[in-house]
């Protein structure tokens, strides 16, 4: 029996010797009326049953929002004015994407491992079947625009990694989040190779008034429209009456 256990440990030994134990600051993010962005705390520990090899272990954390198709358009000057002349459809791009690492990325991740696990932002965007030459420029533009808007982020060395065991990082979620499941992935790497990875989800949802209004607009559009008109007319009448009263 003991021999069998030893054998099993030997089989999964190199890959399974170090694994991730994860904690999150919240089970879900609630979008209320006064929602102004949020900070997601991701922390955990490396569980190991043998002393680690001398080469340092590194941690990479990615947080990805729901995937949406995006049409990227490019304008060019025609007869003096700017006109959209070309467009490329990106099949799936995350609405939000953040990468946090414990060491500079080029030291902690090999290119082949990035290709395999799709860790960096360009790898997280899926664009297949584009036959237009220079489609890469469109994907780069998508990343550039979203980076400027704070939706795509690369925070190198923002993961605290203490004594090769305890890690923690805070990922800032912007105010204009869209609803859906956000995927959190954690990678342990040594000499650029992924040792272990773990994936979990966190739900981002509208609550209260936000939820009610959103559902009403989708499920009973005529009621929602009439409610909008009634509010507008009531507000218009109320203001008129209030000002008439004040002038008297």
């Amino acid at each position: 029996m003991r021999a069998l256990v030893v054998l099993l440990l030997l089989i999964c030994g190199p890959a399974r010797a170090e694994s991730i134990v994860l904690g999150l600051s919240a089970e879900e993010v609630a979008i209320t009326v006064t929602f102004d962005g949020s900070e997601l705390l991701i922390f955990g520990a490396v569980d190991r049953d043998a002393p680690p090899p001398p080469e340092p272990l590194e941690v990479i954390v990615t947080v990805s929002g729901p995937l949406t198709p995006v049409k990227v358009r490019r304008a060019a000057r025609m007869a003096g004015i700017w006109v959209n002349t070309a467009a490329v459809e990106v099949d799936a791009a995350p609405s939000f994407y953040a990468v946090a690492t414990s060491a500079p990325l080029n030291e902690s991740l090999l290119h082949v491992e990035d290709l395999r696990y799709s860790i960096t932002t360009p790898r997280a965007i899926r664009s297949v079947g584009n036959t237009i030459s220079g489609a890469g420029a469109f994907t780069q533009a998508l990343i550039r625009i979203r980076e400027e808007a704070g939706a795509y982020r690369m925070d190198e060395e923002s993961v605290d990694f203490e004594q090769q065991t305890l890690f923690r990082t805070a990922v800032e979620l912007p105010a204009n989040l869209i609803e859906g499941n956000y995927t959190i992935r954690i990678f342990l790497t040594r000499e650029g190779r992924v040792i272990d990875s773990l994936e979990t989800m966190i739900g981002v949802q509208k609550v209260g008034l936000e939820r009610w209004l959103f559902n009403l607009s989708r499920e009973y559009p005529p009621v929602y429209g009439l409610l909008a008109l009634a509010l507008a007319v009531a507000a218009g009448w109320g203001a008129s009456a209030a000002f008439a009263f004040l002038r008297r």
Binding site: D36, V72, R77, N176, P222
Partner: protein
Amino acid sequence: MQLYLPIAEVSVHTLLLLGIGGLVGLLSGMFGVGGGFLITPLLFFAGIPPAVAVATSANQIVASSFSALLAHLRRRNVDFTMGSVLLAGGLAGSALGVVIFNWMRAQGQVDLLVTLCYVVFLGSVGGLMFVESVRALIRSRRAGPPQRRSRHMKVHNLPFRMKFRVSGLYISVIPPLTVGFAVGILAAVMGVGGGFIMVPAMIYLLGMPTKVVIGTSLFQILFVSAFTTMLHATTNQTVDLVLAVLLIVGGVIGAQIGTSLGARMRAEALRVALAVLVLLVCLQLAFGLVLTPSEVYSLDVGEPL
């Protein structure tokens, strides 16, 4: 304070939205324009998605035009007969306008065409109005009392003549129906109430007195924008109530202040001010078409997978 908008799905500062609403309401009360040509670009600037901005501004225009209309009703500045004739033409026109708009969207380039429409119409209406109103202002200064501006044109003698008591006109219904119809088409294509075209058309084509024009155009705008709001809420579901309430609160207050300011100003001076404003918006849009943008790429985000 930041507020998260449930339909637009962005977080925007409350004071910014109140300010935009207030500014547009002020103009609405002063000039009788709905302000759609101004509020939609301002909302883009505040980071609201275009589809939500267009639909929600229609809802805000309902509130501000209703509030301003009530103020004009108290002064008996509304010609209901003329308003109803214009509205009948307007609803038919906007129905056709929606068909044209959808056809343009199917061809792509809808943004460009809408902007070009804005530049052409704001430019020509603003230019004509500016020249005419400056001339009227100079004339009224020299000659003391302003001349009665009841010019009778040949088209007014077409059949189906009607008495428009409040406007002091006895003309054929064909010119106002045509004006309403044409403005309705433009309103639907450009996503505005159409007051900035309606007001000069009523003054220069129908020969209505300026004071009555504003109340009457508000009457027409109220119904056209209510129609538009319902259309957007039921087909695209892009009316954001939280955004609308903020714009409305700012707007109704602005409209009341605007109406009393407008009543104190000379009619000619009012027209010069409106002409300058229309020309400024036109120039801004024209520059946007011609100047090299800082980012030549733009994103059109689809529904989550």
